[in-house]
């Protein structure tokens, strides 16, 4: 039986480990010139090298080596002065060579760290290694009820993905996260994704598999000195799943351990629908992979001067950028965290760059637009509106041409595809009534229709003016400038505030 999370955490301490695979966004594959386009028709991006035809030889892609070193530098790693590729031998048809070219005991980058913040507390995740390998082909299992390999009659394989450069980032064991383990795991993968984006080395789309995460979890009793046996959960395809997989594995393992059972070291599979894991194959021991130095590829010895150049040319990293933007914008930690969680920081930055004050940019993206995105089940970035258009709306409000209510209507029009903010203002006639003559005509009519209220104001009950302003706003369909209307009403009735 699984144990509820709170009870599991009272009795056991979790130790995490994360292995993240990032498919690099190079034009060609790791060891041959085949394209790397996602979703191409099966076996259209294959050649003698990635199909392992006799006589074909691999040559390493320079851009992939460079990207891997840049990733290592961004994760505060040391870069190997000399290292080799290795053959990882295993029997599985996802690699036509019957081995995968990877790195074994000589990773290109090692000993780094990533800092994240969870619940307002800083957590340092230590990086064991960053190495370069090739992705595998994609198998589809045919027959059987579940589309999974158990019960399948046979499999069909597409090798388009085989040989795409793949970077594996492995953390050291992460103890001490305690009940925040699921959140720490999610925060780490989120930060990695942003770092990859800022480096421009991968499109890091979890749903397309260009960012994949294996989650290792073990539990130790509170009184124990040694870590327990770990499991490795695969198939974790979203940030939310990272969090759920850790939580579910803690609950499952706690249940087994408290019943006196043992955890088996194995690969497990996460299922989105149930939020739980099921057993996969037992993990082969590293020695069973019979690693040895890849004889077809010569060693890599990055020139230290080149590595220094790459380091100097790294872009501003996401955590540094967030701190800088927060200071520039003068926003609170809470606002900043909310924007980070909503993936709104880039959008707000672009809106500010287009001329909007930061507070206004934040207000629209995190308010009206977040509501719209939520309603339609899309992300902010997917909304059919640009930061420049938001900036234009804030400009129209600042100049007095629109009030907030009209601005919301303008946004609605832009989202509905009616054109630019100016076009929507024009087409829907949303301009605030700035023509004094028109406004005075409306006021005269409202005063005539509300003689009682007008009389009260005239006799000194200025509070009654609110109803008259309301009448003007209604009569103008919200397009009047309320403050100016109030001023004019009081003038007409011969009273002052």
């Amino acid at each position: 039986m699984t144990m509820v999370y709170d009870e599991a955490l009272e009795r056991f301490e979790p130790v995490l480990g994360l292995e993240t695979h990032v498919e690099l966004g190079t034009r060609s594959k790791m060891f041959c010139g085949c394209k790397t386009t996602f979703g191409a028709p099966p076996n259209t991006q294959v050649c003698p090298t990635c199909l392992a035809l006799p006589g074909a030889l691999p040559v390493a892609n320079a851009a992939a080596i460079e990207s891997t070193i840049r990733i290592g530098l961004a994760l505060n790693c040391s870069i190997a002065e000399w290292c080799r590729f290795a053959r990882k031998n295993y029997f599985y048809p996802d690699m036509p060579k019957n081995y995968q070219i990877s790195q074994y005991d000589e990773p290109l980058c090692f000993d780094g760290y990533v800092d994240v913040e969870v619940d307002g507390k800083p957590v340092r995740i230590e990086i064991e290694r960053v190495h370069l390998e090739e992705d595998t082909g994609k198998s589809t299992h045919v027959g059987g009820a579940t589309g999974r390999i158990q019960g399948a009659d046979y499999s069909i394989v597409d090798y388009n993905r085989a040989g795409i450069p793949l970077v594996e980032i492995v953390t050291k064991p992460i103890p001490g996260t305690d009940r925040l383990a699921p959140e720490v795991a999610k925060a780490y993968v989120t930060e990695l994704r942003e770092i990859m984006r800022s480096l421009g080395v991968s499109d890091v789309r979890m749903e397309e598999g260009s960012l994949r995460c294996d989650v290792n979890v073990s539990l130790m009793p509170r009184s124990a000195a040694e870590w327990g046996t770990r499991t490795e959960t695969k198939n974790v395809n979203s940030l939310r799943s990272v969090e759920r997989a850790v939580r579910s594995e803690i609950e499952r393992q706690a249940g087994i351990l408290s019943d006196g059972g043992k955890i088996i070291q194995e690969t497990r599979h996460f299922h989105e629908d149930t939020g739980t894991t099921t057993s996969g194959r037992s993990k082969e021991e590293a020695q069973d992979y019979r690693y040895f130095p890849e004889p077809d590829l010569v060693p890599i010895a990055p020139d230290p001067a080149w590595v220094s150049e790459l380091k100097a040319a790294l872009p501003e990293l996401p955590s540094v950028r967030r701190k800088r933007l927060q200071a520039e914008w003068g926003l609170s930690d809470l606002d900043m965290q909310a924007m980070h969680n909503a993936d709104a920081i880039d959008l707000v930055e672009a809106t500010v760059a287009a001329g909007a004050p930061a507070a206004d940019a934040r207000k629209w993206w995190m308010g009206e637009l977040a509501r719209r995105a939520n309603e339609t089940g899309t992300t902010l970035a997917e909304l059919p509106i640009t930061p420049a258009q938001i900036a234009r709306v804030t400009e129209l409000v600042a100049s007095g041409a629109l009030n907030d209510k009209l601005a919301r209507e303008v946004l609605e029009g832009v989202l509905a595809g009616e054109g630019t903010p100016d076009e929507v203002v024009e087409k829907r006639g949303l301009q605030i009534v700035s023509d004094e003559g028109e406004l005075l005509a409306i006021i005269d009519q409202v005063l005539a229709d509300n003689a009682d209220a007008a009389e009260k104001v005239r006799s000194g009950k200025i509070a009654a003016a609110g109803a008259l302003v309301g009448g003007v706003m209604r009569a103008s369909k919200g397009k009047a400038d309320a403050a100016r209307a109030r001023q004019l009403i009081l003038e007409k009735l011969g009273v002052s505030e």
């Binding site: 394209k35 076996n43 320079a62 029997f91 390999i149 069909i156 394989v157 060693p299 890599i300």
Partner: protein
């Protein structure tokens, strides 16, 4: 003295999904022994000042530019496949393992 045991051959055979008979296990154990013995002779001439090497050429950093080259057509790629389905290589089921 035997460097490779029969059990080790059986283990390697399992990893390679080769079904070997008892006779074959003994046969290959003897052969592998002879191979390892021959290779071990290298150790006799290895001196302190000769670092271990994995490559015959004294080269490092042989890279190619990240440029796309012509791939095979699916017809070409699949022409040597024992079985094909939906433009994919069709392979026998693999029991007890999962990708």
């Amino acid at each position: 003295m035997s460097a490779i045991t029969r059990d080790e051959v059986a283990h390697l055979a399992r990893l390679s999904r080769l079904a070997l008979t008892d006779d074959e296990l003994d046969h290959y154990a003897t052969q592998l022994d002879a191979i390892i013995e021959a290779v071990a002779k290298v150790a006799e001439v290895a001196a302190e000042d000769v670092p271990p090497s994995s490559h015959a050429l004294p080269l490092t950093n042989v890279f190619r530019a990240d440029e796309v080259r012509q791939s095979l057509t699916p017809e070409q790629a699949l022409s040597g496949a024992p079985a094909v389905e939906d433009d994919r290589f069709r392979v026998p089921r693999i029991l007890g393992e999962e990708a």
